[in-house]
């Protein structure tokens, strides 16, 4: 733990709850809140955030061109402070925001979308322990300050720095449950494979953050079979289901519990082996798509689409929803308490780039 992460010393004077409440109400009145109370940010607090990075406070770290707004290091610091982050989290917030803005969908209207996508933030490396991330049970939260406040900081940046407010520029029909609260610290200690950051190009076990936009997650509870291919078939069924199919390809992030990951590894499967098995077998037949009114999905052009040739596909023809490992990043998270994994639906496609935290310290 660095000095910046130390809790402040006990106050000399008694704390004033009435002043705190008034300040919180002031923040609500300004329209800055996501609905929950904010920590009112003062210059001394924000200065601690700015001291946690070498970056210039005026550096622009992200722009939303279509609305003509950008975010500086200083604005990110104010929002991170308001979100309840500790100053020491700030380089992780900046790395997460950097990773998010590498997503084509985030730059291209994703925050305004009727889909209401949620960033999935994945943290790797020693920073997990240094800052007190939860890396085991209840991986999707709540209960742990860095896991909850870092994604909230990103949500506040989108709201306040980019000016994307619900019902105005933000047009989510229902949105994703847990939007702006999903931050998973990978359970590297119980994973049989390398961390996600490695797949995102950051090697050597250093601290790094990966982010993709997601639409929902679906659990796969499969705890009674000794046959790992039974589990893979169960995963493939959820990955290939019809509901999310609006484009020919439907990428997912596979968040495996340690028990499932270790079962696959014990049968000699690498991460790539799991990915390849699922790429081959996840999908539905053309007939199933047509009967759900999604024949047009097959007819789309571009990756995985069949164009005009779709009309010649027989009803029994199998349509795969994935075509590359990049479309199915694999993360190991949670506790070794039950064989429950999660299929997280990706909005667009993961950039495939992890961001080292050191770039933002």
């Amino acid at each position: 733990m660095t000095d910046l992460e130390q809790a402040p010393a006990a106050p000399a004077a008694p704390l004033d709850p009435d002043a705190a409440q008034a300040a919180i109400e002031y923040c609500y009145d300004q329209g800055w809140s996501d609905g929950l109370p904010l920590v009112p940010a003062s210059q001394p607090l924000v200065d601690q955030f700015l001291a946690a990075t070498k970056r210039d406070p005026e550096e622009v770290i992200g722009s939303l061109e279509q609305v003509g707004r950008d975010c500086t290091v200083y604005m990110a610091a104010v929002n991170a402070a308001m979100a309840g982050c500790r100053p020491g989290y700030f380089p992780v917030v900046l790395a997460a925001f950097d990773a998010l803005m590498r997503e084509r969908a985030a730059r291209g209207g994703g925050f305004q979308s009727t889909s209401g996508p949620a960033p999935l933030i994945v943290v790797n490396g020693p920073v997990r322990e240094e800052l007190g991330f939860n890396t085991t049970g209840g991986a999707f939260g709540p209960g742990f300050r860095p896991n909850m406040t870092i994604p909230r900081a990103i949500g506040l940046i989108v709201r306040n720095a980019f000016g994307v407010h619900p019902h105005v520029l933000e047009q989510a029909t229902q949105g994703v449950p847990g939007r702006w609260s999903i931050c998973v610290a990978e359970n590297e200690e119980e994973s049989p494979w390398g961390p996600l950051a490695e797949d995102g190009g950051v090697t050597g076990g250093v601290s790094a953050v990966s982010v993709t936009l997601t639409r929902t997650m679906e659990f796969i509870d499969n705890r009674h079979t000794p046959d790992h291919e039974d589990v893979l078939r169960d995963l493939a069924d959820s990955i290939g289901r019809l509901g999310p199919q609006i484009f020919p390809q439907t990428p997912v992030a596979l968040v495996l519990c340690p028990e499932h990951a270790q079962m696959f590894a014990s049968r000699g499967m690498s991460k790539a082996g799991v990915q390849d098995w699922l790429i081959e077998r996840s999908g539905r037949t053309a007939g199933e798509l047509r009967r759900a009114g999604k024949g047009g999905t097959l007819r789309q052009k571009g990756p995985g689409g069949h164009g005009e040739a779709a009309d010649a596909l027989g009803d029994e023809e199998f349509h795969r929803v994935l075509s590359s490992r990049g479309q199915i990043p694999v993360i190991v998270a949670g506790a070794k308490t039950a064989a429950i994994s999660m299929v997280v639906r990706i909005f667009g496609e993961w950039s495939g780039q992890a961001v080292p935290v050191s770039e933002w310290q």
Binding site: C27, W32, V67, Q112, L156, A161, Q171
Partner: protein, 192 residues
Amino acid sequence: MPNAILDPTGATRMSKKAAASRAARRGSLAGARVGLLINTKQNARPFLEEVGRLLRDEYGVASVTDRTKLNFAVPEPEEVIKELAATVDVVVTGVGDCGSCSAAAAADSVVLESAGLPVAAIITDSFRATVEKMAELRGAADFRYATTAHPVAVLTEDQVKERAASVVSEVVRLLTDPGQNDSERADPENAE
């Protein structure tokens, strides 16, 4: 004296957006070259093509050409705007039926108007707030557009034609009505 509570919006960085100019209107569409800017959403093409057909058959436009938006979710790049300005006299765009594409239609419209092209954007009525906010951000707080009932994507071929027919007179009005005069519009006080 307690510390001030800091503003997270960067309000001090934001420069006031200058009022965007609105293209001069021609009295009628007779002889005009119409460009359809189709946003690729489901039914957008047949909808706009039917509007184009009606403009040709009933309002005497000289030609109707179409181009597909490169990405429905974001405003078109400058070269597309320039190409439209060089090849057509007025533009019909749509159908805005989602968060990003409705806002992008408003942004495209403001840029095209500044380039001298009258525009009629067709948006489903669920997305008024986002269109008006985007237009305001672009300096066109009094932006006008045509609406049609949401949803459009599930309409049959015949229903799309009916919808196009029901909106075409509003499209013509948007493309020909001079509206408020330009000196009033150019007043920056009115753009806020």
